[in-house]
Amino acid sequence: MEESIKSHIRSHCVGTTAVVYASDYLNKLTGERIERECKKQLDSGARALVIDFSDTELVNSIGISILLGIIDIAEKIGALVVFSDVNDETVQLFDMLGLTRHVVLARDEQEALSGLSTPPTQTQAISH
């Protein structure tokens, strides 16, 4: 069997923190890609996840349920999850569904990384 299909999700690592970028529309397909990428990063030793929503304009309930799954997985192995650069409308939606009770929200990626107190030892592009 071949290796897995490329996910086209942008991500990079800063120390033991993985930063994963969500696309403009968070639905089942893109949600699953983020999930796959996050799992991969956690399997590779990441201990914190920053999911960056700077490009995200719209999310749907299936995408949100996948995010919830990611939070679960991270929690089970003691990894932290931070959502960064989430627009106001999406924050409202996350609030509505109680998602914000389970994650930390950061204004941007930098604030997220600072908040996690991860020493910025190296930055490595993982995939594009």
């Binding site: 639905n27 397909l29 749907n60 309930s61 299936i62 109680g98």
Partner: protein, 766 residues
């Protein structure tokens, strides 16, 4: 010039114009082709005598208009002289029917010879006909009428009948080649005649030199030909079943248009399903709608008319006439109704001849005649010993039940009418839902029927492997991955498929077509070792199927295999969203295949080319949009609504809320897995202070969907209950919509769902 005129296609006997004749087009071509080519057919280079065509009709399948259309086409072609005769429904004797045949034959013959189609509609005496006969035909016609007058005053009725029926043989061959269309659907009405009319008709046609088409109820015609000693080898056969779905839809639309009766897609499909594709029932209903100036745009209107027709209209008259013919004595008739009515609902399908004899209080000959008549009309199946009343049409069963309550139980008519209508209304959505399930199930069966030793990627049967490789992948990526896959599975060659229910009736509770048994051979050789049975089930699960559901189905299918004595089997379960990890483990333990709906579709696409359903668009007064389900198409809807909302000066926040709501509504609509057209219908209505959006889809209404709107405020996610969480998600969409929009309600529709959402400008601006 005259040739062109004929080619235009004059409407002579046809009751509808040629371009409005739908549903039996292929049969019409076959019939005309038989008429123009009979006697000139060849088989292996040798001429074959196939002058006769038997048209074997399922009850109520309808044939008269087909024959009339064929008549018109032949008349206009001017190659053969068509003669169409239908046994009258009201003539009581064989003699009068035969005389009528003679008159009709001469009238139509002269109309053709003079090329004056309008003559066919006239009622003329034999003397009138002699006056109209062309000079070239006058000698033989005068001779025929003289002989007829001698015969008419003889004492032998059978001779007279025979004389009349064989009259077309007297036409000199130089004057034209005749083709007889004999519509004998009413033959059963002549069973009591002193002359055996069925046998005489068959003899007159089969033993003459003229080509012909003889149409009648299949059981009766086959019996009559057999009794008359006809040689089946020299006869072609055309079987007419009730219309297929597509043709029945066309007929409903065409008849509704002709009668100017308003219908919609939902009622069209209801009429097709409920009336079981019978042209007679469909036409009768639409004619009745026209007479009563009714629109059939809701289930309620359809069922109201149906019950009216059943209790006192065309449907009632038809069944009453059949019943009165079968059992002329009121006492016997009442006993027959009781017997049939008792057999149908209890599932007590079969009864013995003796039991019928005792209940009917008739002698054996009387019971035999009665059962034979019921058998011919296919109201029962009678094999000489047992009587099976289960197979008749549901319209007949409705008639029977109402008749029983009115006549035998003497219940008030108002009560019966209301009850029948309530039952019909309750049954309507079930009928349609059952139809969609059957269609979905049929796809499973059809797919298995296409298994023919092809090589396909093994991952299509292994949900775990498929999910691991392709989760999050685009359609193109999946296609490319599957194309490059080197782990392949050789499908067996399937030679027979059957519904699981046909082998194990207890599976009926899960739906007629939820399971399929496919008999097959592996490795392309037909040996005991290679014989295998695929036992396949489609699991009814919105979410990933769990271990317990998979275990239950594995046990059921294994039980079916044991009962049926299958030695080598392969289980294959298909679940909409695939399987949970525990279920996957169990599938492995049982050596069973498991696929999601997506894998099933991919396999289906690989084995055959799919065809898309036609798209439609209407409504000029509103913005409307029809989108195919899936493929992120909800984003298109969101983009459009954004433009519309901007025009109304909604705030950016409100626009985003509307967009999210519409996305959720589209996702919700797409989750109706059995939507027949896989389309989402959207309407955006702009009013002064509000935007009203309606999202509709056809298909089955999810149970308790209204409940999601009626429950309390949107709930936060319960992350600890992983099983319930997924179940909860189904409700999130609707709850989100309710939170994001100002007003949300489900509009009442007969089929599927229609969600209306309103956002107020003032409210959102506050």
């Amino acid at each position: 010039m005259s040739h062109n005129r004929h080619e235009e296609g004059r409407q002579i006997l046809g009751r509808v114009k040629r371009d409005q004749f739908v549903g039996r087009v292929a049969e019409l071509q076959r019939l005309v082709s038989h008429a123009t080519q009979s006697g000139r057919l060849e088989r292996a280079g040798h001429p074959v005598d196939r002058r006769g065509l038997l048209i074997l009709l399922a009850p109520l399948a309808g044939v008269s208009e087909l024959l009339r259309q064929a008549y018109d086409e032949l008349f206009n072609k001017r190659e053969s002289v068509p003669i169409y005769f239908a046994l009258p429904q009201t003539e009581a004797t064989a003699v009068s029917a035969a005389i009528e045949f003679l008159n009709t034959f001469l009238l139509q013959y002269i109309a053709f010879r003079r090329d004056e189609p309008s003559l066919c509609q006239l009622s003329l005496t034999l003397n009138d006909l002699v006056q109209l006969a062309p000079a070239d035909d006058l000698p033989w016609i005068e001779e025929l009428i003289e002989a007829y007058n001698l015969q008419r005053f003889g004492k032998d009725d059978r001779e007279l009948v025979r004389f009349c029926l064989t009259a077309p043989n007297r036409v000199p061959s130089r004057n034209g080649r005749l083709y007889i269309f004999f519509d004998a659907v009413q033959l059963a009405n002549y069973a009591d005649s002193s002359v055996p009319l069925a046998a005489e008709i068959v003899r007159a046609l089969v033993f003459s030199k003229l080509p012909f088409a003889l149409a009648g109820l299949r059981r009766e015609v086959l019996d009559a030909v057999g009794r008359a000693g006809g040689n089946f080898d020299s006869l072609d056969v055309l079987r007419l079943e009730p219309l297929g779905e597509e043709d029945a839809r066309k007929l409903v639309v065409s008849a509704a248009h002709r009668h100017q009766v308003a219908i919609n897609d939902e009622t069209r499909d209801l009429l097709v399903q409920q009336l079981e594709g019978s042209p007679f029932f469909i036409t009768a209903m639409l004619e009745a709608a026209r007479e009563n100036n009714l629109a059939l745009e809701s289930y309620l209107a359809c069922e109201r008319l149906y019950v009216d027709e059943l209790m006192g209209g065309r449907l009632n008259r038809y069944f009453t006439s059949v019943l009165e013919h079968i059992a002329p004595e009121p006492e016997t008739r009442a006993a027959v109704v009781r017997l049939l009515c008792e057999a149908v609902p209890t599932g007590n399908r079969t009864a013995s001849f003796e039991a019928w004899r005792k209940r009917l209080k008739l002698d054996s000959v009387g019971v035999e005649q009665l059962l034979r008549a019921l058998h011919i009309q296919e109201l029962v199946n009678w094999d000489g010993e047992t009587v099976d009343a289960a197979g008749a049409s549901s319209v007949w069963k409705d008639y029977l039940r109402s008749r029983f309550r009115l006549d035998a139980l003497r219940e008030p008519r108002a009560l019966v009418v209301a009850d029948v209508m309530a039952e019909a209304l309750k049954r309507a959505p079930q009928t349609i839902a059952r139809h969609y399930r059957r269609v979905a199930g049929l796809r499973l069966r059809e797919l298995l029927g296409e298994f023919n030793a092809q090589l396909v990627p093994k991952t299509l049967f292994d949900f775990a492997a498929f999910a691991a490789r392709y989760k999050g992948a685009t359609a193109d990526e999946i296609a490319a991955g599957l194309d490059a896959d080197t782990a392949l599975l050789r499908l067996p060659q399937v030679f027979h498929t059957a519904s699981g229910v046909s082998l194990s009736p207890e599976l009926r509770q899960f739906g007629e077509e939820s399971s399929v048994v496919a008999r097959a051979f592996e490795r392309g050789t037909y040996t005991d070792d290679n014989e295998i049975v695929w036992l396949v089930a489609k699991l009814n699960s919105k979410l990933e199927a769990d271990r317990s559901l998979v275990e239950t189905w594995c046990d059921r299918l294994a039980g079916l295999a044991r009962q049926s004595g299958f030695i080598r089997t392969q289980l294959w379960l298909v679940a909409n969203e695939g399987f949970s990890p525990e279920a996957i483990e169990l599938l492995r333990e049982r050596n069973a295949y498991g696929s999601s709906q997506q894998q099933f579709e991919l396999l289906s696409a690989r084995l055959s080319e799919g065809a898309g359903a036609p798209q439609q668009s209407d409504d000029a007064n509103e913005f409307s949009l029809i989108l195919p389900m899936g493929g992120d198409n909800e984003l298109l809807a969101a983009t459009i609504v954004e433009q519309v909302a901007r025009r109304l000066n909604f705030s950016p926040e409100a626009i985003n809320q509307i967009k999210t709501a519409i996305v959720e509504a589209c996702i919700n609509a797409a989750e109706h897995s059995l939507s027949p057209d896989r389309k989402i219908y959207q309407r955006f209505r702009v009013e002064n202070d509000r935007l009203v959006i309606t999202i509709s889809s056809r298909g089955i209404v999810p149970p308790d969907i209204q409940g999601y709107l009626e429950e309390g405020p949107v709930e936060e996610i319960g992350r600890d209950e992983s099983e319930d969480q997924a179940e909860q998600r189904r409700g999130w969409g609707l709850k989100l919509i309710r939170t994001l929009m100002d007003e949300v309600e489900f509009e009442r529709v007969d089929e599927g769902t229609s969600l209306r959402m309103t956002k107020y400008l003032r409210k959102s601006a506050q």
